[in-house]
Subunit: 159 residues, 2 copies
Amino acid sequence: MQYTAAMARGDDDLGIVDALAQLSFAVQGMLARRASAYDLSMIQTRLLGVLRDREPTMQELARLLGLDKSSVSGLVDRAQRRGLVQRTPALDDRRAVRVKLTSSGRRIVDTVATRFSSDIASVTGSLSAPDTKQLSRLATRVVREYDGSAPVTDGQSRP
Amino acid sequence: MQYTAAMARGDDDLGIVDALAQLSFAVQGMLARRASAYDLSMIQTRLLGVLRDREPTMQELARLLGLDKSSVSGLVDRAQRRGLVQRTPALDDRRAVRVKLTSSGRRIVDTVATRFSSDIASVTGSLSAPDTKQLSRLATRVVREYDGSAPVTDGQSRP
DNA sequence: GTTATTAGTTCGTCCCGCGTACTAATGTAG
DNA sequence: CTACATTAGTACGCGGGACGAACTAATAAC
């Protein structure tokens, strides 16, 4: 018999493990839902998100997304086929290409980001302003702790 | 130039949107990492997790995971091939099957859950006990708000 | 008792990720 | 300057994963 922790807790608290786990699924679900309005998968959305303020080479993109470079080839292929990104030759290295958003891609990622923000606002709307601030701060501290201890992560996780 | 909100904020606060988004990626990353030790994808892990305290039919499983029933067929096929779950005929309905964990599947999902819990503990370790409690409570409230507002795509009209 | 609905599977199609093998350009000896 | 290694990117095969459409079998509804 387990779940003793849950039984010792009020129903207004899932416990830190389940609360964070379920919250992560909820947040990802909101983002996925907004992206799916444009037929964007999660990884396509992350790609566009990363490109909002960068024009990386395929190599850098692979590192930013935590993927193999061969995976990025196909990913960019499909995004390019849909007119969301474009490849341009790198100026200084004739082997390399730079990937950048098209205007259509930028418009879409901006829209998805805006709608996602309003989802977050909506779902935190029942919290008081100080509570929201507190949640934001605590979440930030956890993220920082994670970034500080986890080796392979990028930093730009959101579209 | 954007990001004015970030500039108006201290560096110890990403803002509620980015904080929750990045937190969700961090949490999912921890879970994915623990699961990958057993060559489990995220969806396979969710499958095992759902089965910890249930023996649903394929139909119910599809609803629980938010997948099409045809997707669940393949998912369970692969899990069964690896000896993680088994199909048993439902007692009351000869069309239906019930899916349950094998002992091997249970052992694995329990281990993954335990390790994931310790990851969460580690990453919230720098928070004081009251702060952790507060984070847990706030996250729970947000999750409840989400569950309460998110329509589960059913759209099925009852005649 | 015929018809409609429901539970599951199968199949074709696409996306996604990896590893391997390949080409082309750049670096590094000597 | 010529070899050789390294780096950037692509191509291809494989398997997992998700969907919708078409199908069988059992149940429910008329």
